[in-house]
Amino acid sequence: MKKSILSLLIAGFGAGALSAGDWPQFRGPDSNGIVNDAGIPKTLGDKSVSWKIDLPGRGISSPIIIGDKVFVTCSSGTDQNRLHVICLSAKDGSKIWERQFWATGRTMTHQKIGCATSSPASDGRRIFALFSCNDLICLDLDGNLQWLRGLTRDYPNASNSLGMASSPVVAGDTLVVQVEADSESFAAGIDVKTGVNRWKLDRAKKANWSSPMVYKDAKSGRLVALLQGSSGLMAVDPKTGSELWNFDQGSSTMSSATKVGDLILVPSRGLTALKPGKEGFPPEELWNSSRLSPRTITPVALGGKVFSVNGSGVLSCGDLESGKRLWQLRLKGPFSASPIGAGRFLLAVNEKGLVQLVDTEAAKGEMVGSVNLKDVVIGTPSIANGAFYVRSDAHLWKLGG
């Protein structure tokens, strides 16, 4: 895994300014929710909390970590129309800078969430913060504004009254966004330097909260962006938006695809393993399992196994090669956040703030530690430089590190 991340970094996955320990976007450097174990806590307890800080607003976005800085987004105000991008010291959680913006799009969401739903992304030089109201803000790491987009101003019906939540992803010098709703939908590749569209694709008019991801094709060496939606999974060239291949068997509009090795695990008819082949041809379907369905939560693959957690807290382990379910372990639910993995360990945080660490190499999985943060946690945690980061509507914690 370490090799995989480093090779992507060296290849200029972002802008070449990222370090190996960074967590630059939703579900990490490879959008698959995993890193090597690099000093992460092997057990958890009350003493695992390195620091805890108050946040000025609500949010379910994941924090991202670049070097010694943590970036987190929030929303506040009576209508959640004040948007915050905050930079903190990873060392002690102290605030380095904060920028606020007025929402230009609709801020209405389900009451369970605020407007800071999408996780920010970074190319190591810039932060791209997308909110439910479709305001897209680019700042440098020192808080200097680079550009702004009001995507609801540009595309007025591409919003969802329950809220938007797809997180953007960086592919070279392009930021890939999916803004998909019942009344208007699109995906776009946006120039990271100017904020101008390189391309824009009309997408199915169907609410979609899943996030795009990017990988480097082993054969061609080119970056590939995956756009997931109700109709399936489409691979596009992130530079042009041109279609490379399409899997049209439908997929979840909530949980996102993940990639491990040369496999893509897509939440389709449960969970389906795909192996991309020639450009222009649909990927080979290796297996499909309804017993490993990730429902609304994105799966994780570790050590030749794949793990899905359902909303009530049943962790299912499957064999990555065959898709056969190997064992199940009941965690304490309910869950909204997706699990993340480091080495042999899986970190899952339930909605009540109970952080649970599972050793996935134990015979049927074993809970090796937990810490109760006693707060509502909906957002997916992050890992960077040997520490876990968990956020609620009111707080951000660093565990270990």
Binding site: R99, G143, S161, T194, G195
Partner: protein, 394 residues
């Protein structure tokens, strides 16, 4: 003597270019602000704005009021560009041990002709460095053009009213809370104040406070099978004739009156066409007599697919079903003409069968940009329903 002459020369040399430099700086700042204010759709103007932003952000704290003044007439994107430049300047100034120009900022907040958001930001900067000064300003902001500024002043009145109430001063409390309601624009505050006032035996006309349109003529159901009715142009879209009859989904349809008696202006179309029918479309029509031409915001809440026309012009439409609704969910900007204006709403119901998809309804109010109700000259008295969320056929 020689030294004195030298000093004098330095002073003169320093003074004269300073004035010129100030003017030049002011001119450059205006040019930079112009570049920022030119940002538009799809990233248009971003590159020039980014260059100008760096120049603006390099200015010192004393320049903040002039920069904020540049927000006048800005679009929402430019407002954010300018806001972040000001925040950056303030950080730089304060982190470097400098000060913010509190007196100038207070003056700026007091000048209501400036952009309301710029004034709010000025207030936040004052609060950041001199919380007491900011606190003193709050009571004077109850009727401010900035909704963000007036909120805290309204809260002060609410707190004052509660204190009076707790002290047994019911008349004073009613008067204070009445003022609070006059100025309140946020739903949570309005609800809280209304409850307290009613507890004191005071009448509260919420539909009038909000400017909800309660009296409608409706026609339907037209067909919306496979959700095609949203795009279908049925006769009411071609022209309004309240005496006409048309072919509907299940036979001839004609206009009937539907009056909402809901506190929050909910127009329940299911009341006009009972049975929680599905895959149907209806239209609601009303007339709004304006004293003079003026800009207007029609604010809609609707969980069905909908379109709204003002004087025959389509303001907006949206084919989203059952994702939720709230007051002021959509803000539609238009222009009222003097005299009678026509408002037509199309509301579509889809095929979903779940219990939470039964609603076929909307709530529409007319107000200005601050949310202050704009009342029609021909507004009928508010129907009395005792605060129940119901609607009825008249």
């Amino acid at each position: 003597m020689k030294i004195q002459r030298h000093l004098l020369a330095i002073v003169v040399a320093a003074a004269l270019p300073l004035t010129t430099a100030d003017a030049a700086n002011a001119k450059r700042t205006k040019q930079w602000l112009k570049a920022v204010n030119a940002v538009g759709a799809e990233g248009q103007g971003n590159e020039a704005a980014s260059k100008a932003w760096r120049q603006i952000a390099s200015l010192n704290g004393d320049s903040i009021p002039a920069i904020l003044a540049g927000m006048k007439g800005s679009n929402e994107l430019a407002e954010n560009w300018i806001r972040s430049a000001v925040e950056s300047i303030a950080d730089k100034e304060l982190n470097g041990g400098g000060k913010l120009p509190v007196a100038a900022l207070k003056k700026f907040v007091g000048e209501t002709g400036h952009n309301p958001r710029a004034r709010r930001l000025a207030f936040e900067l004052i609060r950041r460095v001199d919380a007491k000064a900011a606190e003193k300003m709050i009571p004077g902001l109850a009727n401010d053009p900035s909704v963000e500024l007036r909120r805290e002043a309204v809260q002060r009145l609410m707190d004052q009213g509660a204190k009076q109430l707790a002290g047994g001063k019911k008349d004073a409390a009613a008067k204070t809370l009445g003022r609070a309601l006059d100025h309140a624009r946020d739903l949570d505050q309005i609800n809280s104040i209304s409850k307290d006032l009613r507890g004191l035996g005071q009448a509260v006309d919420l539909p009038k406070h909000f400017g909800f349109l309660m009296h409608w003529s409706v026609i339907g159901p037209f067909d919306n099978t496979y959700r095609k009715g949203f795009a279908t142009v049925f006769p009411p879209e071609k022209g309004i004739d309240l005496t006409a009859e048309y072919d509907g989904k299940d036979g001839r349809v004609k206009w009937t009156e539907l009056v909402s008696a809901d506190e929050y202006g909910m127009v329940d179309i299911n009341k006009a066409y009972p049975g929680n029918i599905k895959e149907v479309t209806a239209y609601a029509y009303t007339e709004f007599k304006a004293k003079a031409a003026r800009p207007i915001e029609l604010r809609l809440g609707c969980k069905n697919a909908w379109k709204v026309w003002l004087n025959g012009e389509l303001l907006f439409g949206r084919d989203e079903y059952h994702r939720g609704m709230r007051i002021d969910q959509y803000r539609l900007r238009g222009e009222l003409k003097a005299g009678v204006n026509t408002i037509l709403v199309k509301a579509c119901q889809n095929e979903q069968k779940e219990s939470w998809t039964k609603e076929w309804q909307f709530q529409l109010r007319a107000c200005d940009a601050t949310g202050t109700a704009v009342l029609a000259e021909n507004r009928p008295p508010t129907p009395k329903a005792g605060g129940k969320k119901t609607a009825s056929l008249r």
